[in-house]
Amino acid sequence: MRFRYTMIGAAVSIFIFYLGLILSLFYFVGGKGFWEALLHPNTIFSIRLSLIAATAATFFALMIGLPSAYALSRYQFFGKRVLDTFLEIPMIMSPIALGASLLIFFNTPLGEVIQRKGIFFVFEIPGIVLAQFATIAGLSTRLMKASLDEISPRFEAVARSLGSSSWQAFYKITIPLAWRGLIASIILSWAKALGEFGATVTLAGAMPGKTETMPIAIFTALASTNIDKTIVLILILVVFGLVTLYGVRLTGGKRLYD
């Protein structure tokens, strides 16, 4: 019994640790400054910018990540292992190093051409999306691959034999069967993009009302000892986080079929 209590005790203490952190925020909640900070145009802007940028980054990660995940899950090809390992780069690389690499890239001749002829990334909103994309693309591909791995290729084989092309089999059979896992991957990637700080601040800067996402706003607010604003933003992020985690739980919970 002692063993059991020790183990459960450890789990409960982690819970208390995080709960304590969140509850301690409420010590400062409720003053006039709190509401002012919440309704300040810059705060509203940060929230909106964060939601839009994270959604865009997730969209791009999905567009490239889903086919990549499928390829990694279904096919054997030359260099597959190297490719698979590279997906972990953003996970082991410090975000600030990733952001710095992006910044350096845009100072190479190729990067400069892209900026001149195409889109401006450095210190601009597209830079936020790119930095977040860089952070989550590998992760989301990995997550989606895991959910595709669970779907037997035999379903597609049968669909093909019954007359579906590989594209049709993909969207009529594989996607519907894997969608819970795919949705969970997307939600987690989105949440990670939303909270991204290091790469974003390095590439896009921290200009209030221009490139200041929520995590960046927390940093600047804290740096200027604006505790009310800091807490407002943290609470909003926490709420978003809890909602997404709940969303993931919902999709991963009971299965509709079998």
């Binding site: 037997s152 035999r154 379903f155 084989a157 049968v158 669909a159 093909r160 034999s161 019954l162 007359g163 579906s164 092309s165 590989s166 049709q168 059979i173 519907p176 069967l177 509709l256 079929y257 079998d258």
Partner: protein, 364 residues
């Protein structure tokens, strides 16, 4: 006619070389081989999911080896069935007709007939997850047959089923084939399955075809020791051809000093005096003699005395292990239960056995 010619597959440790299969229209053909001999790879190549190293495939007049699976008109029922869990039974069944953009009205009558034969009308609105093993099998077969394929591929259709369901599905396959005549290629490792259902049989061992032909031809007249062993043959001996008795139209074979008289026709390839051959004695064609009972002339030629070493009750029949007095050759005999009761056999008892002429088969 379905023709596979020179199919060669090299995949991981599997090596399938120059496989030829020919299936006449409307026939139920079996590809029989031990578990793990790459049978599924062969199916996947015929279907177009795997690109073989080389080989040509004809479906009727059409050469299909370069076509994608969806254009080959081959339906496939894998061992795990792969019923689409997110679609109702009804939509599973109609999947092929919709995917091929066929007019559902044209197929309505045919699909209804299939549904009746398969007895799945009460399942149409359910999801596959709630069906029993036998029901799932029926739905999977129906789904495969609905778009009227030119060839139906079945991968171990009776593996992993309870014995009662196995019989049910076996009968269903038989009924389906006799009602709808779909040309079928079925891979399995179970000879009994092939024997009950198959018109023709191809035996593939270690990636090579060892024998093909009509089922009785394969079962009763195996080409080689390898085939005989795979078919579960008991009583295989290395024998020497001692002489030819022209007057009796018999070969005289010797095993350990014991002589067997075998009719001339009981071998596929020519044999000659002095040569070594594999002698196969079919356990179910060996008789245990009752004392005092007169013997037919045809049985008198191969009568041996032996001692019972062991008796095993296999439920539906008995297996008696005998060792001959002369030559000390161990023998396995299968006898029906009623015969076993009449014979009053026990371990250690000395008995006389007689070989029917059908029991002998020689492979050179």
């Amino acid at each position: 006619m379905i023709r596979v010619e020179g199919l060669t597959i090299l995949f991981e440790s599997f090596k399938i070389m120059d496989l030829d299969i020919e299936i006449q229209e409307e026939r139920f053909h079996f590809l029989l081989g031990p578990t793990g001999s790459g049978k599924t790879l062969i199916l996947e190549s015929i279907m177009g999911l795997r690109k073989p190293k080389k080989g040509r495939i004809w479906i009727g007049e059409r050469e299909v080896q370069d076509l994608p699976p969806e254009q080959r008109e081959i339906s496939y029922v894998p061992q795990d069935l792969a019923l689409f869990p997110h679609l109702k039974v009804k939509d599973n069944i109609l999947y092929g007709i919709k995917a091929r953009n066929f007019d559902p009205k044209v197929y309505e009558e045919y699909v209804q007939a299939l549904i009746q034969v398969m007895k799945v009308d009460h399942l149409l609105e359910r999801y596959p997850g709630n069906l029993s093993g036998g029901e799932k099998k029926r739905v999977a077969l129906l789904r495969a047959l609905a778009p009227k394929p030119k060839l139906l591929l079945l991968d171990e259709p009776l593996a992993g089923l309870d014995p009662s369901i196995k019989v049910e599905i076996q009968q269903l396959l038989k009924l389906l084939h006799s009602s709808f005549h779909t040309t079928t290629l079925c891979v399995t490792h179970d000879f009994e399955e092939a024997y009950v259902l198959g018109d023709g049989i191809t035996i593939c061992i270690d990636g090579r075809i060892e024998q093909e032909g009509k089922r009785d031809d394969v079962f009763l007249r195996p080409k080689s020791r390898k085939v005989a062993q795979f078919l579960g043959a008991k009583n295989l001996y290395r024998a020497r051809v001692l002489k030819k008795e022209e007057s009796l139209q018999r070969w005289v074979l010797g095993v350990n000093g014991l002589q067997f008289l075998m009719p001339l026709g009981r071998c596929r390839d020519p044999i000659e005096v002095g040569g070594e051959v594999d002698l196969f004695i079919r356990p179910e064609e060996v008789m245990i003699l009752r004392e005092g009972k007169p013997l037919k002339d045809s049985l008198k030629r191969n009568v041996f005395k032996g001692e019972i070493l062991d008796i095993i009750n296999r439920g539906r029949y008995h297996t008696v292990y005998v060792q001959t007095m002369q030559g000390k050759i161990p023998f396995e005999i299968s006898i029906p239960n009623y015969a076993f009761r009449n014979l009053n056999l026990s371990m250690g008892k000395t008995i006389k056995v007689a070989l029917r002429e059908e029991s002998l088969w020689v492979m050179s």
